[in-house]
């Protein structure tokens, strides 16, 4: 399934998308309900912004800047702007927001949540006050009360064309799809289903609002099927509202993790002799996770969590269940009622903090080496012995790391024959090397094969 995030213009530069301008002529027909809500719709248009970002990428063996364009929507008087996590990330070095009044102001990243692909910015309010700039504030509608077939509008900056409005309907309220690409390796899409719309959504629409006829924000436009016509996806207001609150307060969304991968029970109820409309199948249990420690096994059926009955027969029922587990405070003890074969059992699981597979990234410029901290999740995924060490994400040709034979995907586990715990330690080693260059012996692992490489000044 090729569902792509709507990228900022980075993708355009790579030449993956070739777009004729002729396709982007906007034709806006006003229907009656739209006309009645004209003034509130105008207000919405005044709240949609264009976002220009420059951010650091560590992909190629050195820290480099890439730039991109996306959309956002102002959600409060004090300058909070909702956008996508794939438009503005913590690697951003410059964030410029163009208001509907065509004035540009700086913004800062307040919070980031790749799991739902949402980010929250704050406009530079001092600058806005000094320059006496004006803007409108959008209001949330209710994604829960949307009906398939209902008219919606997408507003944003497709391919850099600011304040583009397109019109369509809600095609499906609870679209589920299995994310394969992630946001530059970061997991996404676990905890929500999507609003599907046929309103034209293109690269650059990312982070802009999907609104009803009254101009109320019912979703944040995020993805499209590349190569298909009019298959766009938005994060529903219900998710966006919760995430926005958490990002404003804490800068992140804390979630609980227990290490279960749910499967769909679809057609298997009979096999497991379950009552109608009940149960969630466990496909996989992460080794060493709280669920594994509690004794939960793959192919168990979860009947209830803390007394709450589960119905996980169909794919679109899974994200809300994942979200239910994630929304418990970290360290909560959950009681799982399970069916295993013919018996039922009750197990207690203490939740951990949910962590991404992507660890901190860094560039060692003089070595021509970029690395990423090995996270617990990444170590589990690659079946590594421990989560110590760093993984190579890029090398620059003819620099010491590349000459030593380091390659993307190598896990550096030892330096000069002593264990490398993590990135901080390697930063120290790098500084020492910088002031006192001497050949370094690195032990790397790749698919459990150990190799040795020498970094020379």
């Amino acid at each position: 399934m090729l569902v792509k995030m709507l990228p900022p213009s980075i993708m355009l530069k790579k030449g993956k998308l070739i777009v004729g301008l002729g396709f982007l002529v906007i034709s806006l027909s006003l229907d009656s309900s739209f006309a009645r809500a004209g003034s509130s719709f105008d207000r919405l248009l005044q709240a949609v912004v264009r976002i220009d970002v420059r951010e650091t990428t560590f992909a190629g063996g050195s820290a480099r800047l890439v730039s991109g364009v996306g959309s956002g929507v102002i959600m409060s008087r004090d300058g909070l702007v909702m956008t996508n996590a794939h438009v503005v990330s913590p690697q951003a070095v410059d964030i410029w927001v163009t208001l509907a009044s065509l004035e540009r102001v700086r913004a800062e990243l307040l919070g980031w949540d790749h799991w739902t692909d949402l980010a929250l910015l704050r406009l530079d309010m001092r600058d806005i006050e000094e320059r006496k700039l004006g803007f409108s504030v959008a209001r949330f509608g209710r994604s829960d009360s949307l009906k398939p077939g209902q008219t919606v509008y997408a507003v944003g900056t497709p391919h850099g064309l600011s304040r583009t409005v397109t019109k369509g309907i809600i095609s499906n309220k609870e679209r589920y799809y299995h994310d394969l690409s992630g946001i530059r390796g970061y997991e996404t899409g676990f905890f929500n289903t999507w609003l599907q719309t046929d309103a034209a959504i293109n690269p650059g629409n990312s982070g802009g609002p999907l609104v009803d006829s009254a101009g109320r924000v019912v979703g944040i436009n995020t993805r499209t099927y590349l190569g298909a016509d009019n298959l766009g996806f938005a994060i529903p207001e219900k998710t966006a509202r919760q995430v926005m609150e958490a990002l404003e307060e804490q800068g992140e969304v804390e979630r609980s993790y227990i290490g279960l991968s749910p499967g769909f029970l679809q057609d298997m109820e009979g096999f497991y002799s379950l009552e109608a409309n009940q149960g969630m199948l466990i496909n996989s249990v992460d080794p060493g996770s709280p669920a594994a420690l509690a004794g939960i096994r793959a192919s168990d059926i979860v009947l209830s969590i803390d007394g709450r009955k589960l119905d996980g027969r169909f794919p679109e029922q899974i994200p809300p269940i994942r979200n239910l587990i994630a929304s418990y405070p970290i360290g909560s003890t959950l009681t799982f009622e399970l069916k295993r074969g013919d018996s039922t059992l009750s197990l207690s699981v203490e939740t951990e903090r949910l962590e991404s597979r992507v660890g901190e990234e860094w560039a060692f410029e003089k070595w021509g080496l970029t690395v990423r901290e090995v996270s617990r999740t990444f170590a589990r995924e690659l079946q590594l012995e421990s989560d110590d060490g760093v993984v190579v994400i890029g090398t620059q040709s003819a620099f010491p790391a590349e000459k030593a034979g380091l390659r993307r995907g190598d896990v550096i586990s030892k330096v000069n024959q002593s264990e490398l715990v993590g990135l901080e330690e390697l930063k120290e080693i790098y500084e020492n090397f910088d002031s006192n260059p001497d050949a370094l012996l690195m032990e790397t692992q790749r698919n459990r094969t150990v190799s040795y490489k020498v970094i020379k000044p």
């Binding site: 496909n283 249990v285 079946q383 024959q417 012996l441 698919n447 459990r448 094969t449 150990v450």
Partner: protein
């Protein structure tokens, strides 16, 4: 391994000068006709669950009993012997085939042996009848090319000069241009035996299509510049196993061997000593019993330091061949460096656990799935670290396209851990569960728990 190394060598093997100096060997046409009787084309097919894949390779006659030697890559190593069907041989230039029998493979070099039926043996000429030649750089050679089947595998004349000779660790020669067909022979001007054609090398080429440049590796299927040097080859001819399916491989139980490169060796204080690092040691293996540990560096075998080869990774190939050359029960004295400390460890080599090709397997037609016995070597590919006798399930070795198993999500390589909630502990148990499922008319579906990488999945397979 060797093939990959040969491919690297090609760059300068190929660059060598093409001197088209004409020579006229006395009676070369007679030599050509006679020596063509030492080469045969062997045909067979590999039978799978749903199809048959024909194979045709060249081989050489090595004795008066009609035994024909084929290269190691002539028969895919994972194919069970009972799936190799209908061996036939053709004399060059003839369209009639003759029956032949597969005899098995040599454990040290992997060469395969086939025996031609008695009726044609007296028309074959063993290579042991020919004198050998010591090759020199620039020496003129001629070889016998073998045409395609529609030309009745007709032999044709080729010639070139010796470009270079390398130890990889087999002694491999390279000619200035294509000199023979893979699996066929080449000779010196006086008719003495010079070499046996190995598979052709990948030639790096750039293709320009509509202004765009592509890097491509091209390989001729029917002609080669590389050959095994005969004077070395004859020392190890004819190690025919007692039976085609015998497991006489010796086993040390070390995985992920890597040659230590010069700079690393120097930093580790090993000087200019060739060394090999061990990434992983299988539980319960001879290496584990002898006390070898992961990250040990091997420096010597039976008191002799490891030989330095160029390129360095040949050191590993040489070490592996030394293990393969030993007999079950032999011991091996390994000189080891462990964290800079030198020590000697004696390992008693054991019989190798069952190789994948010998693992039991069974195809279930209604389901469209073949299951295969779990073998110790699966620990490596599945990144498991189990005790020698621990069996975590059975392996899916074939899924028929659009079968019930395929629709249910089965994939080649899946480790089946449970079937219908029953933990799989051995192959026979899995077979009887599957047989029961397929024969039970009241059963419409079943559930399998499979492991794939670090994750598991519950699959529902329907039966109809």
């Amino acid at each position: 391994m060797t093939k990959r190394i040969i491919q690297r060598i090609v760059a300068w093997g190929y660059v060598s000068l093409c001197i088209s100096k004409s020579f006229s060997a006395p009676a070369v046409d007679e030599l050509f006709d006679e020596r063509s009787a030492s080469i045969l084309v062997v045909e067979f097919f590999v039978e799978t669950e749903i199809d048959r894949r024909p194979t045709s390779v060249n081989g050489i006659v090595i004795d008066s009993n009609g035994v024909i030697q084929l290269s190691a890559s002539a028969v895919p190593s994972w194919v069970p012997v009972d799936k190799l069907k209908e061996f036939k041989v053709y004399r060059l230039g003839e369209s009639d085939s003759h029956d032949a029998t597969y005899l098995g493979s040599d454990r040290e070099h992997g060469w395969h042996y086939v025996q031609a039926e008695e009726a044609i043996r007296d028309k074959l000429k063993p290579i042991t009848d020919y004198p050998l030649v010591e090759l020199k750089t620039g020496q003129p050679l001629w070889g016998i090319g073998v045409a395609m089947k529609d030309m009745d595998f007709a032999p044709y004349f080729m010639r070139a000069e010796v470009s270079t000779i390398q130890k990889l660790p087999e002694t491999v020669g390279f000619a200035t241009s294509e000199i023979t067909s893979p699996g066929s022979l080449l000779f010196a001007n006086d008719g003495s035996l010079a070499g046996w054609g190995s598979s052709a090398l990948n030639m790096e080429r750039y293709l320009t299509i509509e202004g765009r440049r592509y890097q491509a590796y091209l390989r001729k299927p029917d002609q080669t510049t590389a050959f095994y040097v005969a004077s070395e080859l004859v020392k190890s001819l004819g190690n025919i196993p007692e039976s085609p399916d015998i497991n006489d491989m010796t086993w040390l139980g070390v995985v992920g061997l890597q040659t230590i490169d010069d700079e690393v060796a120097e930093l580790m204080g090993l000087g200019d000593q060739a060394a090999i690092s061990i990434s992983q040691i299988l539980k319960g293996s001879p290496a584990a019993k002898a006390g070898l540990v992961e990250r040990d560096m091997v420096l010597s075998v039976d008191g002799k330091p490891l030989k330095r080869y160029t390129p360095r990774r040949v050191v590993v190939a040489d070490f592996e061949q030394q293990i393969a050359g030993k007999t079950i029960g032999d011991s091996m004295l390994l000189g080891i460096s462990r964290g800079g400390k030198l020590m000697e460890i004696e390992v008693a080599l054991e019989q190798s656990p069952k190789p994948v090709r010998q693992a039991d397997r069974k195809y279930f037609e209604d389901t469209g799935l073949t299951i295969r016995e779990f073998v110790v070597y699966d620990n490596v590919s599945l990144k498991l670290d189990l005790e020698l006798d621990e069996i975590p399930g059975v392996i899916v070795s074939f899924v028929k396209p659009n079968s019930n198993a395929h629709t249910g999500g089965s994939q080649n390589g899946d480790l089946i851990k449970e079937i219908d909630g029953v933990a799989i502990r051995d192959f026979d148990q899995a077979v009887s569960i599957m047989e029961e499922l397929e024969s039970n008319d009241s059963k419409n579906d079943f559930v399998m728990l499979v492991a794939r990488g670090a994750e598991t999945s519950v699959l529902r397979i329907t039966l109809d």
